[in-house]
């Protein structure tokens, strides 16, 4: 029994690791020259790594914690002490804590409405949610137009969606918003640092999870082999990658829906992996490196929220020993598309001038790294695919349903912690289990 896994991100490597551990002849085909997918480390100073991709985790991310423990990796808390900076509308404020200088009742009413909608979503089958058709035909921008009346709520809503799920309100389905928020543990858990989904980071960077899984899998991993076609008959699957053809008994496709949808399948899929409405997660992550986290000397946490870009929020991402200061900025939502289209020089200039306004006393950074996930050929967006109108009804029922010998993994195939590292790992375990239980001979033919 031979199994191929397409994609060496968290989902694919988790599946491959489970299969290899069960004695299955496993090979992983990865399009890039590296493993990790939407986790990626940047060495911001000698031996100091920052997360250019997925970074945060919380206590509820139990499968991720199991994997970390098994791989000998540790976590450290995200620092969030001190005052925040806000540039919202024409105002400039420095305030204690994280709460923006906006009308609290208006934001509360917005969160009440979101929470109410979120609570109706059926996690086992989002497409069977009461009034699914209505919610899935509405964009978040249309919902906001109908339900948010206070200017502060209208200002904050796109920032919240960008921050939470890297979505542009104009293109995301409201059912997807509700699913994402429910799947991640609700708006409060997803939004929180301490006690929430941003509580901790992986010490030394989240890319190490994939690197250590890859080290265990060794020569089973083949890099620089983008898969173009997957053809199956009753007995086997033939996989055409660039320059090489592979045969296997079963296959796990563990790449984002937009990439999975671009592969040629024969026989064809009964439902698409992505539609013209399916969007890329709109996120560009920017890391500014300083000799020390100097904002702390001014009583600032490094947290900022701005209503104009490019950096709609910033957060202190310094390593715990404070050997360098790392300020991470997020360019999300519609702003990410605008920013990603700029030449590199203009991107740097805009970032530096905004940081100079937010943190005027900081010296020029000693490093500036821009990770454009929107344009990334082999991710097509980050944090995760953003499902547009009608996507959940069209794609949802078959997202995790095997197509003959082709099985699916990836954070978008998990309605638990969709879009997060936790969802990716859960999907990898699920896909491996599916393969192991679907083919009786798996454990015996080695």
């Amino acid at each position: 029994m031979r199994v191929l896994v397409v994609g060496a991100g968290l989902a694919g490597l988790t599946a491959a690791d489970d299969l290899a551990a069960a004695g299955v002849d496993t090979t992983v085909l990865e399009a890039r020259g590296r493993v990790g997918g939407r986790t990626h480390g940047i060495e911001v100073a000698p031996g100091v790594w920052a997360d250019a991709g997925a970074a945060y985790l919380g206590d509820r991310h139990t499968e991720l914690h199991k994997t970390l423990a098994e791989l000998g990796l540790s976590t450290h808390p995200t620092t969030m002490d001190g005052s925040s900076r806000f540039a919202l509308g024409s105002r400039d404020d420095t305030r204690d804590g994280r709460f923006p200088p906006l009308n609290a009742v208006a934001l509360g009413q917005m969160f009440d409405l979101l929470d109410e909608l979120t609570a109706t979503v059926r996690l086992d089958a989002p497409w069977l949610t009461p009034e699914a058709e209505r919610w899935d035909s509405l964009t978040a921008a249309q919902w906001a137009e109908q339900h948010l009346h206070h200017p502060d709520a209208r200002l904050f809503f796109p920032l919240f969606l960008g921050e939470m799920m890297a979505a542009d309100p104009a293109t995301v389905s409201m059912l997807h918003v509700a699913l994402y928020l429910r799947s991640g543990g609700g708006i409060s858990y997803l939004n929180a640092f301490e006690g929430g989904a941003q509580q901790d980071r992986v010490h030394g960077g989240a890319q190490q999870i994939c690197e250590r899984l890859a080290a265990r899998l060794g020569a089973r991993i083949r890099l620089n082999l983008p898969v173009r076609a997957i053809h199956q008959d009753a007995r086997a699957v033939t996989v055409h990658a660039d320059g090489e053809t592979f045969r296997c008994d079963a296959l796990v496709v563990a790449v984002p829906p937009l990439l999975a949808g671009a592969i040629d399948y024969r026989p064809g899929l009964p439902a698409p992996r992505a539609t013209e409405a399916t969007g890329r997660g709109c996120a560009v992550k920017v890391q500014l490196v300083y000799p020390t986290p100097q904002w702390r000397d001014r009583g600032l946490s490094g947290w900022s929220v701005s209503s104009t870009g490019p950096l709609l929020s910033t957060v202190d991402d310094s390593p715990p020993d404070g050997e360098v200061g790392v300020l991470t900025g997020f360019v999300t939502g519609a702003e990410a598309y605008r920013f990603a289209a700029l030449p590199a020089g203009a991107q740097r200039t805009q970032v530096l001038s905004q940081v100079a306004r937010l943190f005027p006393y900081l010296p020029a950074p000693i490093g500036l790294h821009i990770s454009d996930w929107v344009s990334e050929q082999y991710s097509r967006g980050c944090y995760a695919a953003v499902f547009g109108p009608h996507d959940w009804l069209r794609l949802g029922p078959r997202l995790a349903t095997a197509h003959g010998r082709v099985h699916w993994a990836g954070t978008e195939t998990s309605t638990e912690y969709f879009g997060l590292m936790e969802g990716a790992i859960r999907s990898g375990h699920r896909a491996a289990m599916e393969v192991l239980s679907s083919y009786e001979s798996v454990g015996r033919k080695r």
Binding site: F99, A104, L107, G108, Q109, G195
Partner: protein, 73 residues
């Protein structure tokens, strides 16, 4: 003053039945997002719009009930 009503409101938002009149919202795991939901409920139930900073100064049901009462006057 409606201390019992505000206590029940805290318990609902925090999903914690153990809240008493002297419980500190932020000490019980309340954060700024949940605080806005207390304030929207206060607006709905008592017809009083408080600011986030007013809530920070009166973070227990007993003190918040006083703030609501004086704002309602």
């Amino acid at each position: 003053m409606n201390v019992d009503g505000v206590t029940a409101l805290f318990a609902r938002v925090l999903d914690d039945p153990e809240v008493t009149a002297e419980s500190d919202f932020f000490g019980l795991g309340g954060d700024s997002l949940l605080a806005t939901r207390v304030l929207s409920a206060v607006a709905r139930e008592y017809g009083v719009e408080l600011t986030f900073d007013e809530f920070l100064l009166a973070p227990t049901p007993a003190t918040l009930a006083k703030t609501i009462a004086s704002a309602a006057r």
